[in-house]
Subunit: 508 residues, 2 copies
Amino acid sequence: MESDSQDKSLNNRKVPLEMSPEEFRKVGHQLVDRIAEMFTSFPQRPVTSGESSKIIRQALGNNKLPKTGTSTDRIFEEATNLLFDHSLFNGHPRFWGYITSSASPIGVLGDLLASAVNPNVGASALSPMATEIEAQTIRWISELIGYPETGGGLLVSGGNMANLVGFLAGRTAKVNWNIREEGMNAANQKLRVYVSKATHTWIEKAADLFGLGTKAICWIETDINEQMDIEALKQQILSDQADGYLPIMVVGAAGTVSTGAIDPLPEIASICRQHDLWFHVDGAYGAPAAALPEASAQLRGLSEADSVALDPHKWLYSPLEAGCVLVKNPQTLLDTFSFHPEYYSFDGSKEDPSLNYYEFGFQNSRGFRALKVWLGLRQAGRDGYIKMIRDDIALSKALYHLVEAQPEIEALTQNLSITTFRYVPVDLSNDDSEAGKYINDLNQEILNKLQAGGELYISNAIIDDKYALRACIVNFRTTLSDIQALPEIVIRTGRSLDAEMRPNHLSN
Amino acid sequence: MESDSQDKSLNNRKVPLEMSPEEFRKVGHQLVDRIAEMFTSFPQRPVTSGESSKIIRQALGNNKLPKTGTSTDRIFEEATNLLFDHSLFNGHPRFWGYITSSASPIGVLGDLLASAVNPNVGASALSPMATEIEAQTIRWISELIGYPETGGGLLVSGGNMANLVGFLAGRTAKVNWNIREEGMNAANQKLRVYVSKATHTWIEKAADLFGLGTKAICWIETDINEQMDIEALKQQILSDQADGYLPIMVVGAAGTVSTGAIDPLPEIASICRQHDLWFHVDGAYGAPAAALPEASAQLRGLSEADSVALDPHKWLYSPLEAGCVLVKNPQTLLDTFSFHPEYYSFDGSKEDPSLNYYEFGFQNSRGFRALKVWLGLRQAGRDGYIKMIRDDIALSKALYHLVEAQPEIEALTQNLSITTFRYVPVDLSNDDSEAGKYINDLNQEILNKLQAGGELYISNAIIDDKYALRACIVNFRTTLSDIQALPEIVIRTGRSLDAEMRPNHLSN
């Protein structure tokens, strides 16, 4: 009898996570409507509520794991309220902080579809169409930026992972012993990787986590434009070789994180060829700008790289997460990452071998992040992306000219779509080092106030020891009038804080 | 004049990626409806279309990057047709391959909401509410499986990354020099990590990528139940210490990938304490079963681990991607991963320090994968999860009894929700080694045929040199009648292939 009743309950499982088609449609439609409302409400909202973590935690409530369930319509009512009232919106026209773009609405719907089909894009057998769409996306991105379409690559979570994949491919390719089995300390040889001083912190993570240690990083000086000093690079490689080190790779930047500078990529490529070094380009932010007909030869030099990192969730306007690494020779990824466990049955036939992305990177199970990128490329096409990127750059240049025209704002740099500047009280000259320190403190406070205030959102950079304010426009919702609002906001905030802070900071 | 017209175009940007609210609602509602249809259509569909990659590529078309855009309704019409007609569906009631679960519908809608709000959950300032929801999700998962809620952790892309994070935390904690700066070959000491022979291939990736080399892995024998041999572990540690190696960590399995075996976790914990080793548990699949009141003491021993990997996209039924790593002491993750670049302004105040997930793992920019997990935990509650997991286990046990009752099927193992078995023609005894090899070949062909056929989807395991068929039920849509259909399908396929293959394979 007990077995009979168990049979019955296993045949008519009560599933607390299931939703009827009617419920799914109803809740789904409501959610779509609320999201459409949210998108249109951006101009009327602050960029961020700017609340302290304590306030946020109070709003969420410090609840224990619920013992029993809650209805889906009530959960979504609560979740949308919590998120719409207490978030920072990258999609806001006045969000220009760090480097996260406005997410394309089609990408948002793409994430819904990807999640519903739920293919595991680790193996072609588990995701037949999704795997081919990812492969097509990789070819299209290559085509867009002028990278060889005969290469390969894969989508990853973001810039860190894309750069780490490229780094590891270089490590495996250029080390002259069986590092996969023997590890780093099999040979008594110290590796060296060369990066400019403006390189993003992923390089430290890579050197640390992959066993080289951060001392293996040679930080090459940059010139006044934040570009790698090529003569210094050449000298450092020669002197390291003479000292018995093993140089393995140079990293070039296609858009540094602070100012958007582009290293002289063709010259770096030539040095890498000469010394048999891996050439990796960190184009997480800037690589899509190579799509522009007017792109510089320095940027186009990324086509010569062995590997390129590029984030679709930055300048291709995909929702998070979408990073991408491209490689000239896909075999280098297989050589770095492929294992063939006995419990997988994915190889396909000899005539029709399978493309299994689990062999090309860190992950085994992989979601379908390619879909949102592919949908965006189809919706806008090459011409559409060129237009959006070009407009972002034009807005950044317009911002530079606007702040340059203000006596109280010092314009500092403009590259790609990044503009940096700082507030300087009219009566203070930076020749005075005490004033210099005060101006840095003042700008840091201006940033804090602006970030919490929600009128606009920018971030910071350090440029020649100057604490700079930084706007990075990877935002198709930003218009010229948004940009034009910035000087007044910065000056108002700067004056008010200067009046507060100066009496306590400066003796004169 | 040119500048005036540029001003105008930058004030009224034509944005090829934008959608009007009406268009977003219309396309969004259609998509929700089609997804609801897809969910209900599973029982009438094959699990997979089983087509070759060549056919899939033809269906997709080998198009170049489009120069101009396409309308969103047409793109979604094409995308849904391509995906619904040429996918494998993990959400199908008869999908029992590898370890991917049916995705909860609420999780699917959660991915829509997460993508729309698009918070960057790398820093609290960029994702105030999302960061707190992730922290709450981590606490709830800990609570669910009996792991100390005073710990911490974060969500990652899946099991590989969760295990890699735990591994690195252990490496940093137990190495007795400054490995982050100096790298692996600063000290002339060879590290050792201990895992059972049944450990998933992530351990080879970890040892390889993080500079130890795969030779640093000590593969400890397993007993007849695929559990780590504790005496062998003890002996190996002692002999390695005597030989001058530096043992740093033991990995215990809470559900091996092949058979779902659980290592004697309390005994491993005790050995780790005794030798000051890091104790990592790979519970990517099995850890949620610790929520059951009837869970074994061996499984509950995961509460003693320094780090635990657990995939919500496995047995918490979240859509891909959702992995999770829990750690007893969150400081160990900061010690392993934190860098503080000068271009970030995220630290918060002294009174209210910020929780910034970029400091706890590989990624800087991070999506809001916590939302789908959190929504599922709210919808089902603890009781709901216990019921779903318990039913999956009951179905797996029912399958074992069903295949055991068949003269032509040899039942092999049953643990957690994994059942293994193989087809054996009634007239062939496995005592004969030639027959043994043939039975392996036959079962491999049975698997190929079943995987392409779409009636059900299982995978394989190798058990004592036997090629086994393997069903892993992490699927709330599976019912007893789905399970009851398996023996007939396996026997029919086995008989037909045996008739084809035997004449060419066996002399007698």
